[in-house]
Symmetry: D2
Subunit: 364 residues, 4 copies
């Protein structure tokens, strides 16, 4: 169980979906950052269930409480613990699932790994675990924004087979993303996506999708070759989010079909620094940010928990039909947008702090 | 610079492309594994340059020497250091590149990160760095094979736009993969790929491609939620390989377009365990292996170093035309096959050792 | 700020002395251990203030609440978060200290490190931080006791210049230790120690002391050379406890004055294993436990916060006289006994889990 | 086997006493430090055997070779690998010891831990392993000296019961320490110590001793509470050195016998900073350096390998008499002086780099 992420800015999350609550401890947050609960709540509200008819009806206010590490509205440099209480639990919904592992869910693998029956409702495999990440990510974003002017914006670029035209990636902002509940900045596509999700919901089925994420104003020099390259840590971060199946940066899988002469990002002068004419690299070269925007995409599978009856077997191997109850998202991507942003922020803040060891500045 | 990978079975690589040599230290290899240099040399030979006309002409024998950690043909449980000397260096080839950063290579970002001119030939960003990984991976594979019967086989599934039909993934073996220099197990496709690579080489250009990797006989229970999930560590491992742009597991990006009812892998009884009818999950659920084969794909971009003239700027921002010399692969995927296998082995061995903490067995 | 300890069984503590509360997250506790709050409360009660007239009058019940990681009275193998609320805070007591750094306390160094004024009452440097350690240690002890029969017993062996005769180290138990409030198992010495502490208290002064700790039934093989040797991690663990100034294992500093021929612990047969006739090694050889009891001693300085007026300077360097208020222990060793035990347990549990990677057993 | 030390400046050592060689990889050394092999050789020469009649007659030149990470006499910021070959091996000397574990040596515990017979000559438990530490420490010292003016000087303060008067700790330099082969800066005491060591050698016996170490010009702010406090990491570092039994900082064990009013280091103005009148704290308060010199002491036991016959048992438990051959130091402290300095440097360089994350400076 590795519930910690990061080397210098290290987040440890805790909590199950149906226990007392979920939260995180952030160890290594620099001192002196102005911070209160509203900074964090904003992103939690974008992640929380029951925010629209497209999401699970489980109704959790998800109010964050900061337990330590802050004094007079500023970070102390000591561990910041924060917590969100679970309130709307219905463990009874999960009774059948204790004997029948849900297909493509984590019931079976948790049993095999831990040898104890997973908690009702998914335990740590529940998306509820990501609350701690989003809260920690909000703090990371605050630091990145204040010190470096870094902006991180993610949006839904496809739902099922419905693909949005690429927005003006250099200027898209969260406000535009949040105009639709589905979090696609293109209004026409957003409508189609909404319809598709609602149709799937009606059919007791579920849909997948893809999120695109953009990180602007990232200074050159972030990334720690050879194993903690920027794209390697981003890939780990994204694939640690529940329901993800793929990650690509810059040209991604499509780039594997290009010629080198077309794929190469030639340098041009941009003010006092060098920039690149194109950005097939997605903002990283050799594992290190080059000053261009970091852009990547994350694929999410359709949620495993559906109400359609499924012919499967129970833990003992006996044939059965599973009809999942519980309250579930028909498509996770709208709520996953702030999760992707938060994990990106956690990667970047850690790399920014690690890079400081190479500056010439001495401590005092 | 994070040149270490793994928690219990931890590899640290060292060495630049044009220094004295490259190598690795493996800390945490269990004692008592039979091991000598031939176990390692086999995979190094599959990775080494000049093994066919499709690869760089740089001629390195890449003979590995074990410096420590072995006695009487068995691992001692102490750090295993190993090294490969560089012999065929031609730093003069790289003279122009010291003033002109190669487009889409790491020259510029290393300069921005470290503030010192990168070594001729790419330094740590050279694919030569991966020798240490392949050597360490060979040791990991030995352990995984002896203790668990795990088999790891990767192959080239696309080169540029040429895509091979999927082989019988359950039975494809390395011998079949190695039948062609391009490492595609389908003979007809291999021939087309070879032609395409040779044509690109003639045109002073380069091609990308995709590698598919299969891990069979992986026991259920491997993966450490929530941040060190099996797919998260695989993603990190793969995206840390030079020239990679994407990673997907199981259904991957295509899975994002499926319905949940079609995507879910329903359980069936397989002998004494549960298995799944389909394997869209790619062998992992909730971040933990489920006993089905782990299958994933890795996208490689076309190599950045091409001999075609490129209009770009030098470090000072002055317009220039770069004509790269040096000896380079026109397409890296044939030689990247053992690198992908090795990184997969490093992920699995570490997860296997970490999972042992949960067994009921006491130490003595 | 590194508030995490351990590689596989990893504890992260959080909380300041005068914020909302203090606590810990334990990541990597094996699943299936029976555990509830009473297991933890026992040791917290031995650590808590106001338990006798020898300790600070700050009155905290220190009731622990488990927030996650437990279901049906058993550990799930997921992170265990636990918390103790602060109730009896009197920040006003610390007003002068915000401008005058207390001599030999952490006020000055926290200011220099973090650049923000430390919280009233010592913040993270307060002994209150150790609550999270004691809670986590209690869980570690549960595991060590159930799986290995390991017993950890610490006691006060000196207070100031008053030294207790060595108890029968092989059989001393906590009940005997707790017979006196001062936690010295020898009744006569305990009385003298009590008198000395009371006298120092009356004189507005403070006393130091030494704690001896014994770990019985530790299996041979624990310790990870060369940097995580058992004694190295114990030394780190002990010197991370507030107010500690020294650590010695086995013969310790006195051993440096012995001849090798007298110091060597010759082997004898003990049942099915080898044992040693003497135990100058203190249960570890070459950094690895040898099956004999681990025995070590920890030196604590007299508490820095005293009510006697002290001529010192304020943060600006102006002469001043500091008369500390607040409520403080005149001697910390009685309450430090469970802290020492807990840190020992955290070291041993982590080493026990790490050693399991070397067993021949496979996962399934 | 944890052969890595440090978080940002991380050293991994490798090599057995009687294999091909020993060495280290330093990952995270900042770029741009001027460095060549002579910088390192100087400290290796102070550590090497056969440097005087007081040390083992094993004759090893211990010439270091840098394998990677340096170009044009400057560090690249990439891993620095370095190696020293073993040349004077006599494994035959160790034949009896393969069946009879040497008392108070690591033969038995390595067998119990790794389940394979330890290499002749002690394997990783040999003091020869410390070569990698000393080489890495020399690099760390170079950085600390250039950037911060930090000076680290250790010396032999006692051999057996012979105790040197404290030198002028503020000004003692290595040249004075090295005036005598025993490395005690006081000439009269050095002579007595020499006589005592020679007498023990004649008697086929061995002696212990204590080393004092002083670190001057350490900036305030180094140390990472709560587990990586400066004194905690120093304690770990020192107790990881072979043959150590104790560590104390500042007043140490003696401090436990003082009154708080006498022990407290009151503040005074020293130039632009605050300093303390006394230094019972040993340069650290609350786990963080306060700008005063860091001073600590390390106790070494008498070497376990002696030529005097010892009544003991073999691995099977049969009575036997062991007469150790091999070539051994009668007292390790003279050669341990640079080892202590090196480990101190490794702790300080890592803490200095970690503290940089808290400066306000941004990366670009």
């Amino acid at each position: 169980m590795s519930s910690s992420f990061g080397t210098l800015f290290r987040v440890t999350t805790f909590g199950e979906s149906h226990g007392q609550g979920v939260g995180a401890v952030i160890d290594g947050c620099p001192p002196g950052i102005s911070l209160d609960e509203t900074d964090i709540q904003l992103q939690l509200d974008r992640r929380r269930p029951a925010q629209s008819k497209l999401t699970t009806s489980r109704n959790e206010a998800d109010r964050v409480v900061i337990l330590s590490g802050i004094d007079n509205g500023r970070t102390l440099g000591t561990p910041i613990a924060l917590m969100v209480k679970n309130t709307d639990q219905r463990p009874a919904d999960y009774r059948q699932m204790r004997s029948v592992p849900r297909p493509s869910h984590a019931d079976y693998t948790y049993q095999m790994k831990y040898g104890v029956q997973a908690l009702s409702g998914g335990g740590r495999a529940s998306a509820r675990e990501t609350i701690g990440r989003v809260a920690a990510g909000a703090i990371a974003e605050k630091f990145l924004s204040e010190r470096y002017g870094i902006e991180i914006v993610a949006w839904v670029s496809t739902v099922s087979t419905i693909e949005a035209p690429s927005p003006d990636t250099m200027s898209v902002i969260r406000k535009e993303v949040d105009r639709s509940a589905v979090r696609c900045p293109d209004p026409q596509t957003a409508e189609k996506m909404t319809d598709a999700i609602e149709a799937a919901q009606q059919a007791d089925d579920s849909l997948g999708g893809i999120i695109t994420c953009m990180c602007r104003n990232v200074p050159a020099g972030l990334g720690e070759p050879v194993f903690d390259k920027a794209e390697a840590l981003l890939a780990q971060a994204m694939l640690s989010i529940p329901a993800t199946k793929g990650f690509e940066i810059g040209s991604g899988f499509a780039g594997s079909r290009m010629y080198g002469s077309a794929h190469n990002d030639v340098f041009i002068k941009k003010g006092t620094h060098l920039g690149t004419r194109t950005n097939h690299s997605g903002g990283v070269q050799g594992g290190i940010s080059n000053g261009e925007p970091i852009i990547f995409r994350v694929a999410f599978k359709p949620p495993a928990t559906i109400s359609l009856p499924q012919k499967t077997v129970d833990f003992e191997g006996n044939d059965t039909v599973l009809e999942a109850r519980g309250r579930h998202d028909p498509c996770v991507v709208p709520r996953a947008v702030p999760i992707v942003e938060s994990m990106a922020a956690l990667v970047l803040v850690d790399l920014a702090l690690r890079q400081k060891m190479r500056t010439n500045e001495t401590i005092r």
